[in-house]
């Protein structure tokens, strides 16, 4: 299974490099495009974890919809007089140190924890993931409340955004 390992490391390198480019790029459109590369890398991670439905909707939602939304907002809020300027504020060294400490701590924790040093159990062959997911989402003793609440959340986001952003 060296091929899977190779794909995993390729995915990690591409995603992390793209993520670093997102937070360091001066040009916002470039940052948005790097964000899409990073999120596509995450989609590959989902495929490797055999959550193919999540992988596909990751691409659909982020690259299909959120990318367009972000780029439109960048176009809408560009101040023609002002150049991009320095992208970071004064406290960036503290932020970098904090993030590094968080990452090192988490990585050490995960690396030493015996529970996380496990391999994936085999998937049963007749696992119909999407059908099960749909059944869970609407069955009354599972996740029907989050399902309906999600639609109310989306409705609230839709109406709220229109109220805030829309002006003739």
């Amino acid at each position: 299974m060296s091929l899977g390992l190779f794909i995993f490391f390729l995915m990690v390198v591409v995603t992390v490099v793209a993520a670093v480019a997102v937070v360091t790029s001066q040009n916002l459109v470039n940052a948005a495009m790097w964000l899409m590369v990073a999120l596509f890398g995450a989609a590959i991670a989902f495929v490797l974890l055999q959550a193919t439905y999540i992988a596909v909707i990751q691409v659909l939602v982020y690259i299909g919809a959120i990318a367009v939304l972000i780029v439109y907002t960048i176009m809408l809020t560009r101040n023609p007089d002002e150049k991009y300027g320095p992208g970071v504020n004064k406290q960036w060294p503290i932020a970098a140190a904090l993030s590094l400490v968080l990452f090192l701590g988490l990585a050490y924790f995960y690396y030493t924890l015996p529970q996380t040093d496990v391999l994936a159990p085999a998937l049963s062959g007749d696992l119909n993931a999407i059908s099960q997911l749909g059944a869970l989402l609407v069955s009354p003793n599972a996740y029907v409340l989050p399902f309906e609440l999600a639609s109310i959340l989306l409705l609230a986001a839709l109406i709220g955004s229109i109220v805030v952003a829309w002006r003739k």
């Binding site: 995450a42 991670a45 490797l48 972000i70 992208g87 932020a95 986001a157 839709l158 805030v164």
Partner: protein
């Protein structure tokens, strides 16, 4: 094969990069993009735990789907606020908008 901890470390790396972006970037849109990175890291954790613990039950994937809904709502409202803010003060740098500070 790949152990669980590698995925978790990968997600932690993404999360930390996103955290740096949230804390250090000036532009609100850039901050929102960093939040997207953090939410994706969380989703990777959800799916990794689903795959390595109980792949027969789909609870992890349900949570991931709901995280999608939350992140979409968050980015929609956040960007709407950015547009509204820009209309008022022609400025979208987070640390220079201080009307509500006092």
């Amino acid at each position: 094969m790949i152990p669980l901890s590698w995925y978790l470390i990968f997600a932690a790396a993404l999360f930390s990069i996103g955290l740096y972006g949230v804390l250090a970037r000036k532009n609100i849109i850039a901050i929102l993009m960093s939040i997207e990175l953090m939410l994706t890291a969380i989703n990777i954790n959800f799916i990794a735990f689903w795959r390595y613990s109980l792949p027969g039950q789909m609870a992890g994937q349900v949570f991931a789907v709901i995280v999608f809904a939350v992140s979409a709502s968050e980015v929609a409202v956040g960007l709407a606020l950015v547009i509204s803010l820009f209309r008022r003060v022609k400025l979208i740098a987070a640390d220079e908008i201080n009307l509500l500070k006092w």
